[in-house]
């Protein structure tokens, strides 16, 4: 128990630290940088690859960006999600049937953990300040899971008022996990992310920090990072930022110093096996970027594919939304089997390729464009991935699909056989942006699972991906087709400019879209975003018959009504009925085509459950299409959107049955081998 004198002394020191750390200096930093320096880290860390451990010490300078004083801190210790099988992360995986057993059966060396060994304030002169470790405790505010160790709290000896700063020293040691979620080590390849005790985000009136969930990523404040990594001599390091120095530490290790301002995370990788490649991104109107690629030796020859994809992302995202603001970007080609591919970190990302990656199919291009694109949607516009992951993943899926469509065509379907090693490229099946890149097939199966408005950490873990990524991409692409790319691009560029280095909310995005497109699109957001309603419009009936009239005329006072029959074989009465099968509402066009080539296009607001249209024309109708331009990409069944009076289903069925028969015969011959 501390004495009153100690407490007073500590309080004085804190007050001094706050005074020194406040106002002028931080404001000056903010002015110099692009982002607010809310949480800045100076880190020394040492990797022991044999023991698979990291020991580190960090000094965090934190400024209270909120509107009330902060009395405590929140620390993310993400690796503790794999400390035991009762963590919230693993419980969620188990809930969704995503292989908890497999994870639980892993050896002890596959698990990971982080342990804070020192937590104290740092005095302005750099000397140790008041201890905070005594108040350190694990918390689980979301699910009250007492076994979870991924989030901790500690009390500040003195409250930190809004706008004031405090410095803290945190030491820790960690067991590097065998990769559970994109971070960990395998063999002599280490991808180290979410690896240091990291402050939560303080917003408005409190901490916005939650445990680590299986279906969410991360959220943190911007700051500056100065990191010194000690690794075995000769090992190649890639990290967020630029390498400032490389110093021989004398014990067969080397210290690599990386520095980066205006980012909200720091990740790194090391291995003796990487091949290093470098190229430049240059553009008439965008700033140049040095691209550094750390490539697996077995992927030698795929350098240009990685660079081309990164260039395409920097170019198109830059042209469409705004410039990439950093002078460098590091592309990490992850080791096979490492589980670290396809993940984004500031100024660094992991791609993912295969030893056999056929040209003409977008592997590794698709993942490279996507993760490079996250530099914009996540890195620069830093929305909250725990609460609204669609804001980065969905916007980015929409954008990367667009880039692939522009820059990497044709893209043929590839399927893999024999343990996934042998690829087969289907030259008959060309993937399309509208359906394949946006993944309507995945979304179709999960359409009703969750409404996007639900906080992401509450999504059903088994299908969160399809709501976060696919549904968002589909409704954004629908919006593009509805309002036009120019308007949508302008709106997204404005959103990018307005919220770069900030933490926008869904409302920020929607209001920017409304404002910049000049349209009130709330009707669409309120359904596509706020509900799990499914869209499905259908063509129900198409008839064309010769005009025939039967009935009584009006008659007169002198003559009773007389029955008449008339028949006009030069005029045809066409009846059309279209139907809204799904709960979702969307205005759609209805296109009727007649034998003489005439077309009639109707506008249907799509509100009622069904809608008839009737025509008398000199020609029979031949086809009916609902949403003929396929504006509504969220429509889960497009086959029922049309009717033709000259159907070719039989021909199609013949064609595909013939192909299937050969497959079945081959299968039967295989089994005949055994008797």
């Amino acid at each position: 128990m501390r004495s009153r004198r100690d407490r007073c002394l500590a309080a004085l020191l804190i007050a001094f630290a706050i005074a020194i750390g406040s106002d002028d200096r931080t404001r000056a930093q903010d002015a110099a940088g692009m982002a607010p320096r809310t949480a800045s880290y100076s880190i020394d860390a040492t990797l022991d690859p044999a023991e698979r451990t990291i020991t580190g010490r960090e000094v965090v300078t934190w400024r209270n960006p909120g509107t009330i004083p902060a009395y405590s801190i929140r620390l993310h210790l993400y690796w503790n999600a794999w400390r035991n099988t009762d963590s919230t992360w693993l419980r969620q995986r188990a809930l969704a049937g995503l292989g908890r057993d497999e994870l639980a059966e892993r050896s002890a060396s596959d698990f990971g953990w982080q342990q804070v060994t020192e937590l104290r304030l740092v005095n302005p002169d750099g000397t140790p300040g008041a201890d905070m470790l005594a108040s350190f405790r694990y918390i689980s505010p979301t699910d009250q899971n007492r076994a979870d160790r991924s989030l901790a709290a500690a009390d500040l000896p003195v409250a930190v008022p809004p706008g004031q700063s405090v410095r803290m020293a945190i030491s820790w040691r960690a067991q590097i996990p065998r990769t559970f979620a994109r971070t960990g080590g395998i063999g002599n390849y280490f991808f180290v992310a979410q690896w240091f005790p990291k402050l939560g985000a303080f917003e408005g009136d409190g901490w916005n920090a939650r445990q680590f969930f299986a279906n969410t990523e991360f959220y943190a404040d911007f700051g500056a990072y100065d990191v010194r990594l000690t690794v075995p001599r000769g090992w190649i390091v890639g990290a967020t930022g630029r390498e400032q120095s490389r110093t021989d530490a004398g014990d067969n290790t080397t210290v690599h110093r990386y520095v980066q301002e205006d980012v909200h995370d720091f990740a790194w990788t090391t291995s003796p096996d990487f091949l290093e490649r470098e190229a430049r991104f240059e553009h008439p109107t965008l700033p140049p970027v040095t691209m550094r690629l750390l490539l697996q030796p077995e992927h030698a020859g795929q350098e240009e594919r990685h660079f081309a994809a990164t260039r395409a992302a920097l170019r198109y995202y830059g042209e469409w939304y705004g410039a990439y603001p950093y002078p460098q970007i590091t592309i990490v080609d992850p080791a096979w089997h490492s589980g670290s591919g396809g993940m984004e970190y500031p100024t660094l990302f992991t791609a993912g390729s295969r030893w056999l990656a056929p040209r003409g199919s977008n592997e590794p291009e698709a993942v490279t464009v996507h993760e490079a694109g996250h530099q914009f949607w996540y890195g620069i516009v830093a929305s909250n991935e725990v609460m609204a992951a669609w804001m980065d993943e969905g916007l980015n899926t929409f954008s990367d699909a667009r880039v692939q469509d522009v820059a990497f065509q044709p893209d043929f379907l590839v399927q893999r056989f024999f343990g996934g090693f042998i690829p087969w490229q289907f030259r008959d099946i060309r993937l399309s942006r509208a359906t394949d890149y946006n993944d309507i097939n995945g979304y179709r199966e999960a359409a009703r699972r969750d409404a996007p408005i639900t906080p992401t950490y509450q999504y059903w873990p088994g299908t969160h991906y399809l709501i976060t990524y696919s549904k968002t991409a589909l409704w954004l692409n629908t919006l593009e087709r509805l309002v036009g790319w120019d308007k949508l691009r302008m709106a997204m560029a404005t959103y990018f400019e307005r919220f770069r280095f900030k933490h926008p909310t869904p409302d920020d995005f929607f209001s920017t879209l409304n404002e910049e497109t000049g349209q009130d699109l709330r009707w669409f957001f309120e359904e596509a975003y706020a509900t799990a309603n499914v869209y499905d419009y259908a063509a129900e009936r198409l008839d064309s018959v010769e005009v025939e009239t039967r009935g009584f005329d009006d008659g007169s006072a002198a003559t009773p009504p007389t029955f008449h029959e008339s028949h006009d074989d030069k005029q045809f009465h066409t009846t059309v009925v279209v139907r809204r099968i799904g709960e979702g509402h969307f205005p759609v066009d209805v296109l009727v085509t007649f034998e003489n080539g005439e077309q009639v296009r109707e506008k249907w607001d799509g509100q009622s459950r069904w809608q008839p249209f009737e025509y008398v024309k000199p020609s029979k109708a031949v086809s009916l299409q609902v949403d003929p331009d396929r504006v509504l990409l969220l429509d889960v069944n497009y086959t029922n959107n049309s009717i033709t009076l000259k159907p070719k289903a039989g021909e199609a069925a013949d064609r595909w049955t013939l192909a299937w028969i050969v497959w079945l015969q081959d299968l039967l011959m295989n089994y005949a081998f055994f008797v």
């Binding site: 295969r354 299968l667 008797v675």
Partner: protein, 329 residues
């Protein structure tokens, strides 16, 4: 061994009806479910305009919509049916022990039963190396069907053990252990290839013993299938190089046929041409299957029986009861 291989080729060449017959059995078995699939496809497309593109090429959007609602046989209508991918898919299914779509289990079972029924007639015809006529062929089929069913019951535990247990040990447990810390895909693939080869060798070992058990049963007119298996085993053990070499040579021919199909298979662009090439490939597969039987029979006959010797009497088709009555009178 090469001579027996050639002799096998000659026997198959001289028995084109058998090749055609084996091919037709697969085609006949496939036609039923194919009609079901056809009606499913036609029913799903209905009068939709999506059929316009599906009738002339690949409409992948429709295909995915079809699969999303498909059940039963419809679930097997996947891109892997196209061209040479079908061969990869089916071999990979066996090598990785992936389950069949349940709706096809009945068809596969029918194929197994039909193959079991035909095996006696095929071996008898190939062992005699001369035309025996349809009546004698089916008489032999009937004669051996029951015995081969007993043989299958004896062989089944070995296959079940291999596919359910040994496969799990090799290609799951051992593979995962060996690649646990592997970071190079090529290395992992090499390990998997070695394990595939090991597993294939074990399956082939069982298969070759069962093959010679059937051959000995037919050529020596054995009633006891346990005795046939023991005899088959003994023959393989006493002639390991020749039986293994001949088997490998036949596998090589199968690989050459697959490679030819790889080069010729047109994909989805020309359905009729694709179907014709596919049928030619199936005919060749049938011939390869018969080549296994014929060359192994020739090898056995060259070692333990003079060529052309078949112990059991030539099957004769009995006259009708009415004819017999007339003859007796």
């Amino acid at each position: 061994m090469i001579a027996r291989f050639r002799e096998g080729l000659g026997r198959v060449r001289r028995a084109p009806a058998l090749v055609i017959g084996v091919w037709l059995t697969t085609l006949a078995l496939a036609l039923g479910p194919a009609l079901v699939l056809r009606s499913l496809i036609e029913g799903h497309l209905g009068s939709s305009m999506m059929a316009d593109t599906a009738a002339t090429g690949v409409n992948f959007d429709w295909w995915n919509e079809f699969l999303a609602q498909a059940s039963g046989i419809g679930q097997s209508f996947v891109p892997a049916i196209l061209g040479f991918a079908a061969v990869l898919d089916n071999l990979s299914r066996l090598a990785d022990h992936k389950s069949l779509p349940p709706a096809l289990a009945g068809i596969v079972a029918a194929q197994v039963l039909l193959s079991m029924f035909l095996a006696g007639g095929l071996l008898d015809r190939l062992a005699r190396d001369r035309a025996i006529g349809a009546a004698a062929f089916f008489s032999a089929c009937g004669l051996w069907a029951g015995r081969f069913a007993r043989l299958a019951l004896l062989a089944a535990p070995a296959y079940v053990f291999l596919f359910l247990q040994v496969h799990h040990w090799l290609l799951q447990q051992l593979y995962e252990r060996l690649t646990h810390d592997t970071t190079v895909e090529r290395s992992a693939f090499a390990i998997r290839l070695v394990l595939y080869a090991t597993f294939t060798a074990l399956v082939c070992a069982v298969n070759v013993i069962v093959d010679y058990a059937k051959i000995r049963a037919v050529v020596e007119d054995r009633r006891s299938m346990i005795g046939a298996i023991v005899a088959g085993c003994r023959f393989v053990v006493r002639h390991p190089a020749q039986t293994a070499g001949l088997y490998a040579l036949n596998l090589l021919v199968a690989a050459v046929v697959a490679a030819a199909y790889f080069l010729a298979a047109p994909g989805a662009s020309a359905p009729l041409f694709g179907f014709a090439v596919g049928q030619l490939y199936i005919v060749l597969r049938a011939a390869v299957r018969l080549q296994f039987m014929a060359s192994q029979t020739a090898l056995f006959q060259s070692k333990l029986a003079h060529a052309g010797y078949v112990a059991k009497p030539l099957p004769t088709w009995p006259d009708s009861p009415a004819a017999e009555a007339l003859l007796r009178s």
